[in-house]
Subunit: 385 residues, 2 copies
């Protein structure tokens, strides 16, 4: 098993791209990643996508995007694991290069949500849960997150706006990311006055669904990265699934797969949690950010919200998180999200994160999640030296 | 890169499973494969599925099926490449084990088509083509195959029932496969009198869409296979995409990705076409079987149909094909199809193919196809000794 580096990155703005289709978004990210890698040609392409078969009537994205990018003849396929599709595609690209069978792998995440209205997106996103036993009862991703948040508030002593810190941090960081959907900081008051979506989940507890594409080029360790930037190594890669449904778990407030996949990735990287300089979590809902912090081990049970309230997750905090805005402010672009995390972590590790550059960024943990911790893919990225 | 063997296989009957859902079909195949492998426990699961997000409102099959099989905690994801989803999932499982990162990988293909009526399945299957430029015009997989067949008949001198040999062979072989959907031989007359579906494609030129699941357990080469059966090695594995749409190709009657992926897989296996004892092609349409035979190199251009007419593809022919009935008689179970091919090839190589056992079966080529040759995944399976 060989070393794998990130040789190039690309991303589009996240937002409402009314004038651009799925394939054009993907192509923009692909072309930027290939340019960033100094023109490396991929032998294989893995596409992370969540809902195109439902929302765009388009499956078979591997062949579609390889063709559109002028890459007919290479290998290509889509990898799907609901909201973790991006992370899962990155994992497959990693395995392909690590196996030695594929030299250069392109991993592209793409999603086009805004061609449909919000309720259609939410209904389609419910296919990530158990269709026969959950969606059929009317359960949606947001109502599920609301129930978990309610349970969390029941078990723990959290003040009324205890979760505000997640949105505040995300939006503060989004302000420094030119690709983010929301680029203005918000005030605590904004959170407190936000309309309720599914009680106790308010508008600022929920990441916005949006369009976007991001891409990374993976290469064997012995290849140099783009000459301009320090090489970034994928030091750890792991994935774990939990029960699909919350009702099948002994403990609703533990995202076991967050802990399991992070522990596996850290073990491979021969690192401990204390060695992690920043954490890109899957904050589709603020409660999921809190549970990720706890289940991975950054916070004790019931105390994840405090890391946000105490600004420990800020850029100058102990555990910087969502450093480029996270899902909340950069935007949740479905299957592209896990690739955005890899792109953003690479920017931090290479000192290219602009206004949001961390003082110390030698090793980051990124986590891509599908469902309420049902699939979690963790990667440890670090500077090669 | 390490050797990878098939350590266990499982399959359900292909057909109309009115009383069984997607997860139960998959579970039956998984349990049989695990039993066949003497109880080996998978660390990762790759699911080949084509249309569950559309037809069953169910995505996120990795977590769903791992959970249902009692495997929460392992790694899991879905791999999609339209009709080639099964082959693409097998390829990812192969890469995972070859990389050394995953010890035992379970690859399961599953599809549930019959919960919807045929026109809904055909509309959903059109998502495998270009939604914005083809499906939107009303092009369906069958009408596309019909156009290719018409062009083939225009360019080549083929008698009226020239394609009958494909259906005759498939149904003759299906009769010997207890898992096949159609288990009765047909007569040349049956083909000739079959109703036209999309001229010149008649009912017997088209494989039936059906429900089914198949599974294989992959293990590193150094592990012994189930003690009962001779080990089967994945000697070659490769995938290639072509343009998604036929209208973007210079030559509509060459499935370049059939040739490209077969050549790559054969090169890896250090074998030539003459070393191949049998060929499992993706005969979703008889014209695709003919084009696969030609593009891979078993027949000259325009002569693929003659291999069928001359019985060269029969069990005792020069190039036995669709040895357990192929898509035409075993049935086309979407993303399960590529895994059925792997299961059937393993049965042949291990001498477990019953009535359809080939006299010589040391090396087989299997090909899983999505769209009209848009994605083709080829594997060379061979006896380990």
């Amino acid at each position: 098993m060989g070393d794998v580096i990130i040789a190039g990155i690309g991303q589009t703005d996240v937002g409402e791209h009314w004038d651009v289709g799925l394939r054009d978004l993907a192509l923009a990210a692909i072309e930027e990643a290939v340019r960033d890698a100094g023109g490396l040609k991929p032998e294989a392409m893995y596409v992370g996508n969540m809902l195109a078969p439902n929302l765009s009537n388009q499956a078979h994205l591997g062949a579609l995007l390889a063709d559109y990018a002028g890459l007919a003849g290479i290998e290509a396929a889509t990898v799907e694991a609901a909201g973790a599709s991006g992370g899962a595609a990155l994992r497959q690209g990693y395995l392909a290069v690590a196996s030695g069978m594929v030299s250069i792998a392109l991993v592209v995440g793409v999603e086009k949500f805004t061609d449909r209205i919000g309720s259609q997106v939410e209904a389609a996103a419910a296919t990530a849960g158990d269709s026969d036993f959950e969606a059929v009862q009317g359960l949606t991703p947001a109502s599920q997150a609301a129930m978990l948040m309610k349970r969390y508030l029941h078990e723990n002593d959290v003040p009324a706006d205890g979760f505000a810190g997640f949105a505040l941090t995300a939006h503060a960081n989004g302000a420094g990311n030119p690709h983010a959907m929301f680029r203005r900081p918000i005030k605590r008051d904004t959170y407190a006055r936000a309309p309720m979506i599914s009680e106790p989940l308010n508008q600022y507890d929920i990441a916005p669904s949006a369009d976007g594409a991001a891409a990374v080029l993976l290469a064997p360790g012995e290849r140099m990265n783009s000459p301009t930037f320090a090489p970034v190594r994928i030091a750890g890669s792991a994935s774990a699934v939990d029960t699909l449904a919350i009702h099948d778990r002994q403990d609703a407030l533990e995202f076991a797969s967050c802990g399991l996949s992070a522990a596996r990735a850290l073990a491979q990287a021969e690192a401990s949690l204390g060695d992690i300089d920043f954490f890109e979590y899957h904050d589709s809902y603020s409660i999921y950010a809190a549970l990720a912090l706890e289940s991975v081990g950054f916070a004790e049970r019931g105390k994840g919200w405090k890391l946000a309230a105490d600004r420990a997750i800020a850029l100058d905090g102990k555990v910087p998180a969502a450093t480029m805005g996270g899902l909340k402010a950069r935007g949740f672009a479905g299957g592209a999200t896990g690739i955005y995390q890899a792109v953003e972590a690479t920017l931090q590790l290479q000192g290219r994160a602009g206004k949001n550059q961390l003082k110390q960024a030698r090793r980051g943990l990124i986590q891509s999640m599908g469902g309420p911790g049902s699939t979690v893919v963790s990667h440890v990225l670090q500077t090669a030296d």
